[in-house]
Amino acid sequence: MANVISDETIEYVGILAKLELSPQEREQAKKDMGSMLDYIDRLGELDTSDVEPMSHVFPINNVFREDIVTNGDMRREILSNAPGEKDGMFMAPRTFE
């Protein structure tokens, strides 16, 4: 495996993804990520010097909507997906800012 994921990297990625990994899961994740990066590195074998950078695979641009209200009150349906609700609002664990 050409790409070796360090302990620091897996720790950092874990923090960003809000994941807590057991020591076994950590080792497995390091291995998986390394092989993913190896796979992606194969793209580097291609000569892309003549290829324009792109951000989207479909040849479609400019898909717009008009500024017209089309949605009514869907609160009941939307809140039916909430793990908890109170006073018409989603209930989340206590959050600080």
Binding site: L16, N61, D67, N71, D73, I78, A92
Partner: protein, 476 residues
Amino acid sequence: MAKQYETVIGLEVHVELATKTKIFCGCSTAFGGEPNTHTCPVCTGMPGSLPVLNKQVLEYAVAVGLATDCTITRNCKFDRKNYFYPDNPQNYQISQLYLPICRDGRVEIGTEDGKKFVGIHEIHMEEDAGKLIHDEWDDCTLVDYNRSGVPLIEIVSEPDMRSSQEVIAYLEKLRMIIQYLGASDCKLQEGSMRADVNLSVREAGSGEFGTRTEMKNLNSFKAIARAIEAERERQIDLLESGEAVVQETRRWDDNQGESYAMRSKEDAQDYRYFPDPDLVPVVLDDAFLEQIRARQPEMRPEKMLRYKREFDIPDYDIEIITESRHMADLFEATAALGSQPKKVSNWLMGDTLRLLKERDMDPGDICFSPENLARLIALTDEKAINSSVAREVFEVMFEKDIDPEKYVEEKGLKTVNDEGALRAVVEQVIAANPQSVADFRSGKEKAIGFLVGQTMKAMKGKADPGMVNQLLRELL
């Protein structure tokens, strides 16, 4: 001698656009709805939902860019800014990092120190987040997503400002431009315009920037000015005592008059931006830009020139009235109804500005209609009411846009033009105040003022002071 320091300030200004619907879905942006009644699968981040760009958002963003001398990005796209926080159920905010819609603009500002340009680094389109409410009872956080997906533009300035005066001048200029375009009402108190201040200090003459901090939670121009002064002092104190300024985000507490650190660089966010695959690129051609350009309304400099040509009012009045498009529109509409322009301007420059200031309101908040202002002016022109009654009526009109004709009728405020009735009252006043009468007759011109006052009082203000004066002189 103590070192001289220079303050270097750049601003990130968020502006809520005045669209009817959200940026990526057909939910209403109306303010004040019951929690979560303006939500759908798109703005609550349900899997499989597909965002589609509101064309009006793009048009407003381009209009603001053109009005601030920006280069419009012909090929632009949206990116995902990843973060975990319950105000955004998608766990990413759709924004623009790599190809913002506008770049390299500038606005001219004027302060006591003269005119200068403040550069605009970029303007990008993005979505607002939901509102979090802390619930003490259940010790949890409640979330209302009505605001989630409301369109914003973020205007990022260059670090070109050097004082709070320049910052306020820049914000006032931006607000005026955006209000003229109708792209937003830009109310700081209500959060439709929000400014984050990036500030650093450096020794005067130094070519390098110091370490900056970012200040959030600034809800008024006064708070912004106070926060800038306090942060400048704080950073200078640190440097003077040999400590370093830490790059961090700070939250301003306007009641305490101080700020505290929210998060520092050590736990700096890594947003892992990447292009949003759900939204296709936006490609703008010349025809689109021409269309927006052609639709740009008359901006302030042209309006001022036209007022000079069309209306016989002083330059100073023109300057004040055109500061707000709403005020200018009101002025023109009232004049178009036949009121003499100078009289319209007097009401706007005098009592209107005074009441706005007393109530800490913006000119955009003026609620009375041009029709009612024209009626009030007509009532004074016809001498149906005198000027002090007119001011009294105006205050009520300012409050709730009443019809002054009806109001004057209902409250019986009409001036008594019946000369016989007035003469009788004047005679009584003369009889009751022999001392003042004697004073006047012996040459004390001032004494007549007292007698006019007594007559007005007896008439409960409903007399024409000129007529009272005339009658008094006649009878004395």
